[in-house]
Symmetry: C2
Subunit: 718 residues, 2 copies
């Protein structure tokens, strides 16, 4: 469900500052981070081999199979694709295991939205089938709906709420407009969609309709399909509205795998269903409603690109909305292909990409999965030539990501103990083979690793590396201005949610990294029927060269992580970033109330983060010294350091979890309760400060201090 | 042709800073600026009488006559209205004189724009007649055209150039798009319209089409007529494209009145015609062209509110455009009503409002003219009761303002010597009875006067004065931010061009002041057929209460200027503002090239401005002392000071004029060569610095220094 473009817009806010990055520690010349000088040369040769391996032709053939039919979670073709991916992994020489779960998953039944007046009309509701389009007519396409909406039958006047985020309701309050008993109409964008019904319900709305304004991904951005890659008037964005910031995965089994015999929460006790009925519509339908609103003209920032005057209402547009959701147990299959490590088989590097899609998933996420397959194939070839990775590598094909990170969450919950003991790094590949612009979000111990990775991948036919395109994009998003000098390094985003790293990082404390390639303007068919091969081959990656590029960067990342003598984490970088987050929250708290801010132990947090930073620097130095030495007896010492580098992240897990959402346990990273995909760093303290709850902020500060001290001890080897 | 909303947006840029305003000198308590304590009470009583006089009923009856038929310059009804206004003035007890000129004025003949391909279509070109609208069917409406376009018959591919200002052509250059041999399509806004064909021609375009994008004054802003006040799809903005920043008025008689026997420039030697054919169209027609463009998608800031993807071209839209302009001599009548002053008959206060309109001119400018008529009527009543103003007051009804400030320019050129000797202040009233939000632009010696004037007018039914609404608006336009504290006083704009003060101030050096009321969102019918009584009475001033408010503020301004014992100019304020302008230009020049900036005598300018400021303060103090004294022999001394206050402004006229445009002679104020309505302060130096011509800037600095020294001597009485 990844949406790079929108995700990245949030990064400017998520990373408070990056000045320290310019001072980050780099390995000596000729050395690859984590490798001794001697082994760096061999690694470089292997990387060259791996980068040469991916074939656009094979990628396209693979892509054609994986996009041939609709394949949402639980559908027949998704189950067939589990066999297909398993067979490929076997063919490449990987050891394959399937993990099956039975999850609570709603499919759409009857959906209707009728404008009762003025000028009654029945909305189309169904996604438009473009005439002559061979894909839109395929049987088995899941109609447009928002997963985990309740069923409902309501009638009410409409209020237009812009993006439907908390700030929009502040504007409505100033205008004296109440949504109580009303149906809100929100446009997509500005937040993760699940926030819209949540905030609407908190303000008393009885239902929520979400439409795609052409301003965001339609004709305002560029020509619409089939004349261009952008969203046409009848195309609809599907998507989950599960309350994932509370917990992702099967709503009936929080913290437990959805396997036979496991305890399930009864339907009426489930906390992550959307609180009110929600339905997505096209802008063709959205315009019908908006045209019928009166009341104040919407503020300029609320106006989209439809050829109308945007009014807020309430009404007179009066709408009857009926949704019948078919909740049932569906079959979910994760497929794992394993290469067992030669030296450290119990240190795992896991890479995952989701196989399921809302419809055909050409971009989201077959493009990512295909590039992962290319890496598995290339490594299979290397295995045949005698290579074995130092660590164990797991390739995972996730199911049910779109509805709520189902496959990854259930799997992590299933194997939590083993994963916690063994996984060094999780690498995520969602959609993201759509151009030459690289981006990455990661735990900040991996910041220097991510930068060096991007530097090592050249873009064919140009003199640029992925580092260059990433830096350009970062500069566009955080331009130099008063008090903000020009960025010297690309911005590594903090991980929020919205893809399959969530359970790894936020529930178990496994260092994680996400990455993607974009730039071809290909957001317009997001979660619609038209994210299909025709669209993708015409506008996004006609020659599968971005697929190859994505395989190269993914493959090199995996190879480095799996083969490095020393895991490439830098806890000094991490600590410096944490210090920036603390200062940022302190400033926010002080601005709100200097007196209240004094009740929160910012000094203690900073001191704990400084000790963590110092321990990180010392450990890195110790590792570098070992790598520089020629002693063959250093193996045991390196293994011991690697263990500390793996485990320090686990210490940032607070067993009791975050306030009101115990599934989320990481003290540094979590999706925001009111941002969804968007990260809130040091969430326990920050969200308490946001809410003006300084007692809770003070208590959460002690939690953070304890966690940082645990991690510091681990880094110190105590 | 005044357009307050757009004009005001430019002010933030035009006034470099206003911090000094907060320190401006105020008269002692109970005193009205320019009046002794004793006479202040009498003045206050007269003001109360005058403010009570205007009647909404009479204003509406007056308005109904003046908007009954189309009355563009040279039309039969405009000539009838000259009689009507003259008769009213006579009826009020004024001495009436008519001034007739014969001016070169084009009326539109054949106009056609055909899209030859792809998908050929003939554009409507004519303004839409809304079904059942009684006004649109009136005979005699001047079709939509741009006055002073040449005739032409051209065919070419279209390039969309956004607003068509110089910065837009820099963007085109970066994109590698050339307009040479092409027809440009520009949207209204971003500059005065005459700049668009001028800049297009400089880049080699062969014609210019201007359309009204709904983003600027159509449905994006609010509901369109007849459902709201904004511009509908078929409504067209007429307007002049004469090169007024070169010289306004009859193009064939620059600097001379268009009277029989005067020397006229032959048609082929005239410099102020638009250089290429220009035609305005509606957004209904504009969309037809834009839909047919390909090439790069326009940058986000270039995209309007039409439901299309904005492409730049060139082409494939290929257009044939034919314009036949009927150039002829037309009859122009200015009507002057005079009240001769009792004490100082040779000190004149002139107020003017234009009578002509593009069609009915309900807002532009009958609303302003009617409020001027109300003041004349009220003063007539006061005359009957025995009041006589200290100074002479002239009420002027201008003709031909819309096509190029024809009536005011010819009149000022006609009477230049007398006006230069006698006029103390010119007060302009264009459109501007459209709400309670007051704004004023003026020479900066009148800044404190304008503030005190606004403070003295209460808004009925509220606890606010016009000062409050003006301050709110100024703060909205220049919000507090880093380095810019919250404004404490409203911004008095610098006078650019676009209305009838131009010849007074820029050609002769007469202290001028413009003012208006807005806020009812009434820009949507600007220069269209729908600036008519139905629209005005439905959306702008249904009860003629803003007309009354406008009459009150205009009347009080006039009364104070005419009756003050001491003219209310403050040359200290003026000097401080000039110093800010100099510092601003110096900073710009230094940023561009510190070495070049050293060649310009900024120190000399600052020193001259400081002496001017000091002399202004001393003169004000001397006047205040005289006013405070009870000596009856102070009359002669006051008269002498008043003469200096009148004449110091004349000294800011450089007889040789500005570089390349000798008609414009004021060294502090001029419309920008590439901004049109927008002012360029200290234009000789600033525009040379803009152009990187430091030799010219250095030379112009000496001109400014000389002028400031002349004025300083006058203020000092030397």
């Amino acid at each position: 469900m990844k949406r790079w473009r929108l995700e990245l817009i949030a990064l400017g806010l998520a990373t408070a500052g990056v000045t320290w990055l310019n001072a980050q520690h780099a390995p000596s010349a000729g050395r690859i981070r984590g490798f001794a000088a001697a082994s760096s040369a061999a690694e470089a040769a292997r990387e060259r081999e791996l980068k040469a391996a991916p074939s656009p032709k094979i990628a396209e053939a693979d892509f054609d199979v994986m996009t041939a039919e609709p394949h949402h979670a639980g559908s027949p073709y998704e189950i067939k694709l589990a066999d297909y991916v398993g067979d490929r992994f076997k063919e490449f020489g990987l050891e394959v295991t399937r993990y099956e779960y039975s999850v609570l998953l709603p499919w759409p039944g009857e959906r209707r939205i009728d404008i009762l007046g003025p000028d009654p009309v029945k909305l189309q509701v169904e996604e438009e089938k473009l005439r002559g389009d061979q894909w839109a007519d395929k049987p088995g396409i899941l109609p447009a709906y928002n997963a985990y909406s309740p069923s409902g039958d309501v009638t009410g006047d409409i209020v237009y709420v812009n993006f439907g985020v908390p700030a929009d309701y502040e504007t409505l309050a100033r205008l004296g407009i109440d949504v109580k008993g009303k149906i809100v109409l929100a446009r997509y964008g500005g937040s993760w969609r699940g926030i819209k019904p949540k905030v609407a319900a908190e303000h008393g709305a009885i239902a929520c309709i979400i439409y795609s304004d052409p301003h965001e991904d339609g004709y305002f951005q560029g020509d619409v399909f089939p004349n261009g890659p952008f969203r046409g008037p009848g195309m609809i964005q599907r998507g989950s509205v599960m309350d994932m910031p509370r917990y992702p995965g099967d709503p009936s089994t929080p913290g437990r795998p959805s396997k036979p015999g496991v305890e399930r929460v009864p339907m009426d006790k489930i906390e992550t269903f959307a609180p009110i009925p929600v339905e997505p519509i096209s802008y063709r339908d959205g315009e019908e409603i908006l045209r019928r609103l009166k009341g104040p003209v919407a503020p300029e920032a609320w106006r989209g690109a439809l050829p109308i005057t945007y009014h807020i209402g309430p009404g007179p547009a009066n709408v009857h909305m009926k949704l019948q959701m078919d909740y049932g147990q569906r079959r979910l299959i994760d497929v794992v292909g394993k290469i067992t490590g030669a030296v450290a088989p119990d240190e795992w590097i896991v890479i995952g990409s989701h196989r399921d899609a809302w419809t055909f998933g050409a971009s989201d996420s077959v493009s990512g999965h295909v590039s992962m397959n290319s890496v598995a194939r290339a490594m299979g070839e290397m295995l045949k030539k005698g290579w074995r990775p130092r660590r164990t590598i797991l390739f995972v094909s996730w199911d049910g990501e779109e509805q709520g990170l189902l496959g990854s969450t259930e799997w992590v919950e299933d194997l939590a103990t083993e994963l916690s003991a063994k996984v060094a790094v999780y690498v995520n590949r969602d959609a993201g083979a759509g151009g030459t612009t690289f981006s990455s979000s990661a735990v900040h111990s991996l910041t220097p690793f991510a930068h060096e990775l991007a530097q090592s991948i050249s873009i064919e036919g140009t003199s640029k590396t992925l580092f260059d395109t990433w830096l350009e994009r970062s500069r566009d998003q955080s331009p130099a201005r008063d008090g903000h000098p020009m960025l010297k390094l690309p911005t590594v985003g903090a991980l929020g949610s919205g893809s399959d790293y969530t359970a790894f990082l936020d529930h178990v404390g496994i260092p994680s990294m996400d990455m993607g390639l974009s730039g071809r303007g290909g957001d317009g068919t997001y979660h619609s029927t038209y994210d299909n091969p025709d669209w993708f081959k015409k506008y996004i990656d006609p020659q599968f060269k971005y697929s190859v590029l994505a395989a190269q960067v993914t493959g090199v990342a995996l190879l480095r992580l799996a083969d490095a003598e020393l895991l490439p984490m830098d806890y000094e970088s991490y600590g410096n970033q944490i210090l920036e987050y603390i200062r940022d929250i302190e400033q926010q708290a002080t601005t709100a109330s200097a007196a209240d801010a004094k009740r929160i132990d910012f000094a203690g947090m900073k001191s704990a983060a400084e000790a963590f930073t110092k321990a990180g620097a010392a450990l890195r130095q110790r590792g570098d010294t070992l790598l520089a030495g020629s002693s063959t007896s250093s193996g045991q010492a390196l293994a011991e350091i690697n263990h500390r580098l793996m485990m320090a992240e686990r210490d940032l897990i607070e067993p009791a979890g975050l306030p009101d959402r115990p599934w989320y346990r990481h003290v540094i990273y979590a999706p925001g309760l009111y941002t969804g995909y968007g990260v809130k760093t040091i969430p326990g303290v920050r969200e308490a400060v946001d809410a003006g709850n300084d007692a809770r902020a003070a208590e959460q500060a002690t939690v953070v201090i304890r966690a940082l001290r645990r991690a510091t001890k681990t880094l110190q080897g105590n």
